[in-house]
Assembly symmetry: C2
Homo-oligomer: 292 residues x 2
């Protein structure tokens, strides 16, 4: 994994540099609006969506440079979703990446606007990309739909609706996993394909979905077994808010078994992708080993 870590860090630091530059050049008033946007963007994190998009672009020959702006837009959308998710009226989380949530620093009103602002800015930079040609429009539209009312927002809505469910329903959990988490990860895996004539489209779409499930499964397990220092967010929140999670539906041990199955499914999909996909195999392991 040493080689994997090195490559991951390279993608991560390149992306963070690009994001920092974007933040520095962000020109808007009043100051508190810019501060609140930048605060959440610079909270750090693993940036799994951008790293995934950039690395896949290199693996299938699209080239990381071509997808860079899409990776940025996707991270803006992901960050907006965290800000809104953390609000008292949603999941009511006081911490994010080890630091106070946006609304704890700037107040809920400003946090709502910060989220709105990030979402809108993501599309503003994507509209600029659209002038480059139809495949760029298709890629932008794909991201937009993954984030939308038949994507992430549908998942968040179902997540909210099924708090306190007495009867656990596996179909509902699947719907939440697929939409709340897997759709944005699928955007990361599929955009490099759209910008490269649809290369490995079915494989990359399937991979995004499975990786999304894998990621959410480990997330649900970590909410029970993780520690604050490592995760930087409050734990035991799912039980506190009585969320419909993998742990609630399958039980903790079965959830861990599913992590292994889902990991194997990812590996099988990656087998079908030509080129040096060693980074992707390690990426699956990297998500699995979040569990320690």
């Amino acid at each position: 994994m040493a080689e994997f870590d090195k490559i991951y860090q390279k993608y991560l630091s390149d992306f963070n540099e690009y994001l920092d530059k974007f933040c520095d050049e962000l020109n808007c008033r009043p100051d508190i609006l810019k501060q609140s946007l930048v605060y959440s963007l610079k909270l750090g994190g693993k940036r799994i969506r951008p790293v995934l998009m950039l690395s896949i672009a290199d693996i299938i020959g699209t080239g990381a440079e071509k997808v860079k702006i899409f990776a940025l837009a996707l991270e803006l959308i992901h960050t907006y979703s965290l800000i809104h998710d953390d609000l008292p009226d949603m999941d009511n989380d006081d911490f994010r990446r080890g630091r106070p949530s946006n609304h704890k620093v700037f107040g809920a009103g400003n946090a709502i606007l910060a989220g709105d602002g990030l979402l809108n800015t993501a599309y503003s930079i994507l509209f600029d990309e659209c002038f480059k040609g139809n495949e760029y429009i298709s890629a932008a539209k794909f991201i937009c739909d993954c984030a939308g009312i038949r994507g992430m927002i549908a998942g968040q809505s179902a997540d909210l609706l099924h708090e306190h469910d007495k009867d656990v329903d596996e179909d509902v959990l699947e719907f939440i996993y697929e939409n709340k988490t897997a759709k944005l990860i699928t955007a990361a895996t599929v955009v490099p394909s759209i910008l490269n004539g649809g290369k490995f489209y079915p494989e990359l779409k399937a991979l995004g979905k499975k990786l999304g499930y894998l990621f959410q499964l480990t997330d649900d397990i970590l909410d029970v077994e993780g520690n604050f220092e490592k995760l930087g967010k409050s734990l035991g929140k799912d039980e506190e808010e009585d969320k419909l999670t993998g742990v609630k539906v399958y039980g903790l041990e079965n959830c861990k078994l599913r992590v292994d199955i889902m990991g194997d499914d990812c590996i099988k999909i990656i087998d079908g992708i030509d080129g040096d996909a060693s980074f992707l195999y390690d990426f699956v392991n990297f998500v699995k080993t979040r569990l320690g």
Copy 2:
């Protein structure tokens, strides 16, 4: 004004029919997500932005048909902004168009998601338009920037920031008027030009700004002098929330004088637009006569 009313009603009913069809065909789960989106979209209202865009498109020869989807997207964006504005953490309004605000019906969490969903859906339909050519991309990008962090969201942020200001500042008020209100109205006036080779671009941009000021001035006055039955929203809210309004900065009577001046400015701009612009002259009067 009888002729004006007839034409306004025609644009309005055509647009509402189109919006109803859009709502009926809206396909998303869970049900509560669709219900919350549709509830706010169907609350009615004067639809001044779509009517303005469609009528200007006819006046300058773009044709209403060509801008229809942009008018829909703009109304989605406007509706999202009302839902988020009404939230307890923002302006805390319990009524909108004579009926309970979105969050009073669906809860604040769902209202946040409904707003996010409308904003995202607006861009999803605009990305589809982008395939039609560069001027469509430019028009979509123009709307996006009017709604964004150098547009409406900047205005909302300043509006929130300057509640309870002891020293009233005319520059700040101008910033709020221009961004919170005038930018989206400018999107309505300018899109027909962008889709028609930039015809009357400077005039229509200037008109949007002045009409926006005029609209917000009358809004501020009506918050003091209007009545609930006619407006369908809570009154006296500005004073209650101690907002920086035209009334606070200029005083009520000077505010009314400014309405006349701003109306005259609009008329002068419309004088520069060839074609049968009689609808626009009446439109200015229509906004002014909201004051009764």
